[in-house]
Amino acid sequence: MQQHRALILRSNRFLGSALVDKGLVASADLESANGKFMEAIQSADLKRASILSTLLFELKSLDESRLLEYLVDEERLGLVDLDFLELDSLRPMNVDISLCWASSTVPFDHVEGTYMLASCYYMSAPVVKHWEDLLDGRVLWYGTSTASLSRALERIEEIHETEDAAAEDE
């Protein structure tokens, strides 16, 4: 995760500003979330360093369904529940799972050269740019909930562990 430190800082800063700009979060709540975010960053607990999670679960100052509604209504994004999808290893796509954790984004399908990405951080411009640069712009974006994304990444980690174990056996 350390290699994604700059992206984590930038994407969280942009997400926080965007949430305030769009009236989804009050500045005072963002100030509190920023404080907790910096504590996580400084304790090197980068997986916990998420302004979104802090706002949703610690401060309870953002309602996730409202955020998802915003993505659908204003950003014209489709939503996906990753729990209902069969997920594969990210390795054939040359995608590092730590980047997925760092950006709260996962590629969940790849059809005819186009990648389907599910993200909780679509409102953060650096996340969108990072992935579009990485995948040469051939991206279709979907919104997803934080719980759905976390479970999906855990399932992918298990897939990777199984792959690693199989490779060791060979």
Partner: protein, 429 residues
């Protein structure tokens, strides 16, 4: 058909003099000495222009103007007075006064301005709705804002956003291009509060240290402040120690933990925050702290309708500073030049250009040629100066790019350019 003018001055002699001047210039004049009566008369009668004194017993000229602007905002107003403070003049211009004339009057300038204002008002009333953004077609803000006249969409949105964020809890960031007038903008924020319990202090790279900051906060506290807002100007030019102190200030840590008054911080920064972060000029703490309430300061090129008014405000300020007998004004084509210019160095460049114009003694009317000449000087007196300036800015860009390339490692950057670390650091600052 002659135009009609309402003249209001409680000094009967001066009122009579003004009446004679306007009548001899073929205006139909109503002269009154009582502002309350003048409001009633204005409400009942169509006028093309109003001339008012400022200092009157029942109501000041500014108050009178506010009342009649609510009745018919399209009628231009000229203010005449024996003496006016710079701030009052700026305020009057900001509130829509079409001309300010100090006694003794220059009759010809007064009549010329009267004629211009009536023509402009006629053109505006003839223009279709939603047409071109005219200089007087400003957005009506519900609060005072002087750093921008807010006659363009960008500056009006900026003012409204600042006003909506005026009760920010701990940090606010103003991010703009080089040459912005951050201090005036922060004075506007200060002006959003009617109470004296809000105290603003200004800290810049030249002098910001723990002792100075604490002393200023303490002085504010002793002066009755309930909350002190610390404005950090040109944050990007501060030393690492100053930036670390700025972080402590914003987080109320270290020496600022025990301060017995509420503290807030406004960060003013020129440049792109992300580039400054990449270059290591802004650390992680500051970078995140600055994202809480962040406002982009509009560059002058995005507020071209404002620039002519800002130039006139500067003329007033400089004329006052130089104790000129009258305040010069721009001819219309000269003001258009201000609108068309790109203002690379923003307000700083505008102020330098206006100062240059006034120092060249333009007389009562600032011509197109005078403005053109001053803008040319500001762009660089000679090709050599312009070229040197261009190379110098390119040099800094290249050094910053190399610094990003080498992950902020100053010694690698210095080695790449065949120079020493001190020289690189000096350029990066």
């Amino acid at each position: 058909m002659p135009h009609s003018v309402l003249i209001l001055d409680d000094d009967a002699d001066f009122n009579s003099l003004l009446t004679d001047i306007f009548e001899q210039a073929d205006y139909v004049v109503t002269s009154l000495t009582d502002p309350v009566e003048a409001v009633d008369v204005f409400r009942e009668t169509e006028y093309d222009l109003v001339v008012t004194d400022h200092k009157m017993p029942e109501m000041t000229g500014a108050e009178f103007m506010k009342v009649i602007k609510k009745i018919r905002p399209e009628v231009p107003v000229i203010m005449v007075s024996g003496y006016l403070e710079n701030d009052t003049i700026r305020e009057l211009i900001g509130e829509g006064v079409g001309g300010v004339f100090l006694k003794p009057l220059n009759i010809f300038s007064l009549l010329e301005r009267t004629s211009e204002l009536i023509e402009e008002a006629k053109k505006l009333s003839a223009a279709p709705e939603g047409g071109d953004e005219g200089e007087d077609a400003g957005v009506q803000l519900g609060f005072a804002f002087r750093s921008y006249p807010c006659k363009s969409g960008a500056s009006a949105s900026f003012a409204e956003r600042l006003h909506s964020l005026r009760n920010f809890k701990s940090t606010l960031s103003l991010i703009g291009e080089p040459g912005m007038h951050y201090r005036s903008i922060c004075e506007d924020i200060r002006g959003f509060y009617e109470t004296d319990a809000e105290h603003f202090i200004y800290l810049s790279a030249g002098s910001f240290d723990e002792a100075q900051a604490l002393a200023l906060v303490e002085a504010g506290q002793k002066g009755g402040a309930e909350r002190v807002t610390c404005v950090l100007l040109e944050l990007e030019t501060m030393s690492d120690a100053q930036k670390a102190l700025a972080t402590k200030l914003a987080k109320h840590e270290g020496p600022f933990e025990e301060v017995g008054v509420a503290l807030r911080t406004i960060f003013c920064i020129s440049g792109d925050l992300d580039s400054l972060f990449d270059e290591g000029l802004i650390d992680e703490n500051l970078y995140i702290l600055m994202g809480t309430a962040e406002v982009r300061v509009p560059p002058l090129r995005d507020c071209n309708v404002d620039v002519g008014v800002m130039a006139q405000q500067l003329v007033v300020e400089i004329a006052r500073e130089k104790s000129l007998a009258s305040v010069p004004r721009f001819e219309r084509s000269a003001r258009d030049l201000f609108r068309q210019h790109t203002w690379e160095r923003n307000y700083e460049e505008l102020r330098a250009a206006v100062r240059k114009i006034i120092e060249d003694n333009p007389g009562d009317v600032i011509t197109h040629a005078a403005v053109k000449s001053a803008l040319r000087v500001e762009e660089g007196a000679s090709p050599r100066t312009r070229f040197e300036s261009h190379l110098s800015s390119q040099q800094v860009d290249y050094i910053r790019a190399a610094s990003v390339l080498f992950g902020g490692d100053r010694s690698k950057t210095a080695s790449f350019f065949g120079t020493d670390v001190t020289a690189v650091e000096a350029k990066m600052k």
